[in-house]
């Protein structure tokens, strides 16, 4: 089990949910602390399911607790290619749940079983929703093409 990789994945997920790097880091560390205190989950997939579920709830609590400022759209000092910019805009146009699925499945490369366990839905629902979100993204990008 590579803890550092799991940390990075969870932090990216929290960053996306909270749009605040400090809060995301706090939530990531809190999720890890709870996982270690619980002493459950021997395999990596079990640990990921547990950590995502805890992080998701903590993000919801954090979001409710204070009004969060959104992240600046681009990181300072970065040159973003036009194609990447269009993709980011298309991603931003997706619903929050669709973005969450895309992030977990294609950015963090989590197995479907982990996503299904963390979100509390069936594997079939995860397949269906990710495919639909991906199709929607492709459609939006096609429309933007000259």
């Amino acid at each position: 089990m590579d803890i550092e990789t799991i940390y990075d994945k969870l932090y990216r997920y929290c960053c996306h949910r909270l749009r605040d790097t400090q809060a995301a880091e706090d939530v990531t560390q809190e999720a890890f602390a709870r996982w270690l205190a619980a002493g459950v989950c021997r395999t990596e997939n079990e640990a990921l399911r547990y950590l995502y579920a805890v992080a998701r709830n903590l993000c919801a609590d954090e979001y409710r607790r204070k009004r969060l400022d959104p992240l600046p759209p681009d990181l300072p000092g970065q040159d973003i290619p036009l194609e990447s910019l269009a993709l980011r805009q298309a991603v931003a146009a997706l619903s929050q749940k669709e973005q969450e699925l895309i992030l977990m499945r294609y950015v963090n490369c989590e197995p479907v079983s982990v996503i299904a366990g963390a979100l509390g839905v069936s594997r079939f629902a995860v397949y269906r929703r990710t495919s639909a979100a991906l199709a929607k993204l492709r459609r939006m990008l096609k429309e933007d093409e000259p």
Binding site: C15, L75, L87, V91, L141
Partner: protein
């Protein structure tokens, strides 16, 4: 954009600043839990090559004797098994031999778990080897199994008792002497009263039972000693 290209491009579509406190946090974490199987496999890797070599040599010699002199295969193999048992026992007492007990007590995996795991792994490997050797003898599976297991357990019993009572190299020498003594006993039993004859098999079962019970008790005492060490 193709679907595969889109999936690749998505990895850059969720930017996140590098976490500032990651290193410090990860350093503060206790080590990740390890499953029993992974722990056993890990400890198997720490068993000395000489212990594996001794076990392999016993197995190879037993096979050679079985091929060259099938009639002498049983008692000869029974005379060899004590050396395999000694390898397992010596592995369990390795920490004491090198005076590393206190250091290992403070390590991530305690002395008790490590000693248990190493002796268990070697014991299991020996059980498999003995099970593979048992059908080779002319005396049948059960009888050969009893003939091989009794000296093995007797050596384990004497070796553990020696390592528990004597410190350092003296304990190891005493365990080696126990192995030689048991091997010699097999030779004497063969050449003297012909204990391996079918008529004398009835004496072997109580001997095996006694050896098994006493070895179990000695094993428990050895583990208890490491607990006492930990308490001290």
């Amino acid at each position: 954009m193709k679907k595969s290209e889109l999936k690749r491009a998505l990895r850059d579509a969720f930017p996140a600043r590098s976490p500032a406190g990651k290193r410090a946090f990860l350093r503060s974490l206790p080590p990740a839990p390890v499953s029993h199987l992974r722990f056993l496999l890990g400890q198997a890797g720490h068993i000395r090559k000489s212990a594996w070599a001794a076990s392999a040599a016993v197995f190879a010699l037993a096979l050679a004797v079985g091929r060259l002199a099938p009639r002498d295969a049983v008692w000869a193999t029974a005379a060899l098994t004590p050396f395999a048992a000694m390898a397992a026992v010596a592995e369990g007492g390795r920490s004491a031999l090198y005076g590393m007990e206190e250091l290992e007590l403070s390590a991530r995996f305690g002395l008790k778990s490590v000693a248990l795991a190493r002796m268990g792994v070697l014991g299991l490997a020996h059980a498999l080897l003995l099970a593979a050797l048992a059908p080779l003898g002319p005396a049948g599976l059960v009888r050969t199994g009893v003939y091989l297991l009794t000296p093995y357990l007797l050596t384990a019993l004497l070796g553990m008792a020696a390592l528990r009572r004597l410190r350092g190299r003296e304990g190891l020498y005493a365990a080696a002497a126990a192995a030689v003594l048991t091997a010699g006993l097999s030779l004497v039993l063969h050449s003297g009263p012909d204990a391996y004859a079918p008529a004398n098999f009835r004496w072997w079962l109580p001997a095996l039972a006694a050896a098994a019970v006493l070895t179990g008790r000695e094993y428990r005492n050895t583990i208890k000693r490491t607990e006492e060490l930990s308490w001290n």
